[in-house]
């Protein structure tokens, strides 16, 4: 920095220099800049290439070259590659579980409706009270499609629901209820009223202190005990309640992190303008706090989506359980890799979409708002 900003004498204009030229452009330039810049870069690159050379051909041969795409299990066992015939045979069972096979259009439509609602909610232009109506109508219609019993749809008891619709339903409804609940708990925990604060804190710590499996067991076994004899709650609903109670505690802690990051002056300015408690929270504090915690929030959402697979322990057939169940078919025993890959890809697509969306939301919300 010999001619930098520090040594300027009065009257002398600051020297401007063009930025340093980028090294050779194009593919070769990129390779040199990113893979072979120093001797240890080169060494690492070569090591990685060697590992890839060892692994990739075998994987490709297994997944594509030697794979069997259709036919019987016997053909698969003879070939030694991936048995996609298993997925071709079982995909409907894995996706829809024991839902009556001639009615599969119903869960399909229900899922499309749910995803439509999610997509509409993803667009910031639609954010507003009308979105609540859309959720009520969309999810109500999805529920009706699944359960039936109206408009000539044959009733399908929830014991027969399974697969992706179950996973998706538990997650979407779970988060839709748990999120506002979590926000309320976070507000409770940061409240000035000692009773609210103690109750919220106790709830959050209690739920966070036990594993999800035990919350699900409690919901499944304990809730019926509290009900008067003769009244019973559907097993699916009990699982849903358990999941909501669990997720709310975790979301509350994420939201609290955001609330605490907002400077005290924001509340003071809003109070001084005459805004009441709920107006302050809704208009000033929460919009800022929530946009601060989008990454951990989405992290929790993704975790929750995958955690729904634990409902198998109380006997519900979610997407992962139907894949396991499909493997119990004596004719198709042993094709674990294919079953789990298939389910894994589905989980991944949903989680990845969520993660991309959170990136978009973060950038679009932070535009022009840097302090």
């Amino acid at each position: 920095m010999s001619d930098g900003a520090f040594g300027l004498s009065p009257g002398e204009p600051p020297a401007t220099r063009p930025p340093p030229a980028i090294a050779a452009p194009g593919v070769v330039g990129w390779l040199r800049a990113n893979l072979f810049r120093t001797w240890y870069d080169t060494l690492l690159t070569l090591a990685v290439l060697y590992v890839l050379w060892l692994v990739v051909p075998d994987v490709v041969r297994w997944a594509l070259g030697d794979a069997v795409w259709s036919g019987e299990a016997a053909a698969c066992r003879a070939a030694g590659g991936a048995c996609w015939a298993f997925v071709a045979e079982k995909w409907r069972f894995i996706l829809f579980g024991t839902f009556p096979a001639d009615q599969h259009w119903r869960p399909t439509l229900a899922m499309l409706l749910t995803m439509g609602v999610l997509l509409a909610s993803a667009d910031r232009r639609f954010w507003g009270p009308r979105l609540l109506v859309l959720w009520a109508v969309g999810l109500g219609a999805a529920w009706l499609l699944m359960a039936g019993g109206l408009f000539g749809l044959s009733p399908v008891p929830t014991e027969l629901w399974g697969g992706l619709p179950l996973t998706l339903g538990l997650s979407v409804v779970g988060l839709a209820v748990a999120f506002p609940l979590g926000v309320l708990l976070a507000l409770g925990r940061t409240s000035a009223l000692p009773v609210l604060r103690v109750l919220s804190t106790a709830y959050i710590e209690l739920i966070r202190g036990v594993p999800l499996v035990s919350v699900l067991f409690m919901a499944s076994v304990m809730i019926p005990l509290f009900l008067p004899t003769g009244v019973s709650i559907d097993k699916l609903l009990r699982a849903q309640i358990g999941l909501i109670l669990f997720a709310a505690a975790y979301l509350a802690e994420v939201v609290r992190g955001g609330l605490q990051a907002i400077p005290k002056g924001q509340v003071e300015a809003a109070s001084a303008l005459g805004l009441g408690y709920w107006q302050r929270q809704r208009l000033i504090i929460l919009p800022q706090a929530l946009s601060l915690v989008i990454p951990p929030l989405v992290n929790t959402f993704i975790g929750f989506f995958k955690d729904t697979s634990l409902v198998i322990i109380i006997g519900l057939l979610d997407l992962l359980s139907t894949a396991k169940a499909a493997l119990t078919d004596p004719a198709w025993r042993g094709f674990y890799k294919e079953a789990y890959l298939f389910v894994g890809v589905i989980y991944f697509l949903f989680c990845y979409a969520l993660s991309r969306y959170s990136r978009y939301l973060e950038t679009s919300l932070s535009k022009g708002r840097r302090r």
């Binding site: 924001q266 003071e268 001084a272 303008l273 022009g368 840097r370 302090r371």
Partner: protein, 251 residues
């Protein structure tokens, strides 16, 4: 004390006490402010001057004594607090603009949600006040895109949009770079000349001399002396006032 020139009192503090834990921040503070009066509160840091004006709109709660604004007592009744806050504007040292809202939205928020002013009317009013603080062209920017002086002027306009009859200023120029202090003070002088009742905590003695009807000198939580600025500067009665003014003015 000094004459109130026969005007009706708009703020009345009597025997106000406040503690932070064991620390006694306000000791038997009594002060009456007449409508249209401009008061400058000064004193060393930690003297309780900010706490005093923050008690007037209940950002801080006093523990003994009474505070009345427009005759309404500040007590546990939420309706009283809300009524007083609607009528008392406040400007903070750190601006406290809402960073997620544009300048215009910052200005229209309270009129729309608190006073239920129709949005178009609130926006018209907001632009009028932006004009008054001389930054009409910044309406659609976010606070983070403005300079400190501009942000503080937006904050003043935001408070004015509620059409308050009293304005509280809590060290409004302390967080500003020196070259921006004047643009904010100019707006405040303008406001003072318009007849607004003002309570300013500030170290800007030039401003005090120019606009204050009375100056309040505080030290260790007490009001030590109240006098018109000319009198206070020329002939401070208390030794503590003399020492403080010597430090503020003596260079």
């Amino acid at each position: 004390m000094t004459d109130l020139s026969g005007d009706e009192p708009i703020i009345e503090l009597s025997g106000v006490n406040k503690w932070y834990g064991a620390f006694h921040v306000l000791r038997d503070v009594s002060l009456t402010v007449a409508k249209g009066e401009r008061i400058v509160v000064c004193g060393p840091s930690g003297s309780g001057k900010s706490t005093l004006i923050r008690c007037i709109n209940r950002l801080e709660e006093h523990q003994a004594g009474t505070i009345r604004v427009h005759g309404i007592p500040l007590d546990q009744d939420v309706r009283h607090i809300e009524a007083i806050r609607r009528d008392v504007g406040m400007v903070f040292q750190s601006f406290n603009l809402f960073p997620h809202l544009t300048v215009l939205e910052n200005l229209t928020l309270a009129p729309v949600w608190v006073k239920k002013t129709p949005k178009a009317e609130a926006e018209r009013l907001a632009r009028q006040y932006l004009e008054r603080v001389r930054i009409p062209e910044q309406a659609d920017k976010y606070p983070g895109q403005l300079s400190g002086g501009q942000q503080q002027r937006v904050a003043i306009a935001r408070a004015l949009c509620m059409n308050p009859s009293i304005m509280l200023f809590d060290e409004p120029t302390s967080a500003l770079d020196p070259e921006m202090v004047k643009e904010v003070l100019d707006v405040m002088v303008d406001l003072a000349q318009g007849g607004m009742t003002m309570l300013c905590v500030t170290h800007e003695m030039g401003f005090a001399r120019r606009v204050a009807d009375r100056m309040v000198f505080m030290d260790k939580g007490e009001i030590v002396e109240v006098a018109p600025p000319a009198e206070l500067f020329a002939n401070p009665k208390s030794e503590r006032t003399r020492a403080f003014l010597g430090q503020v003015l003596g260079h």
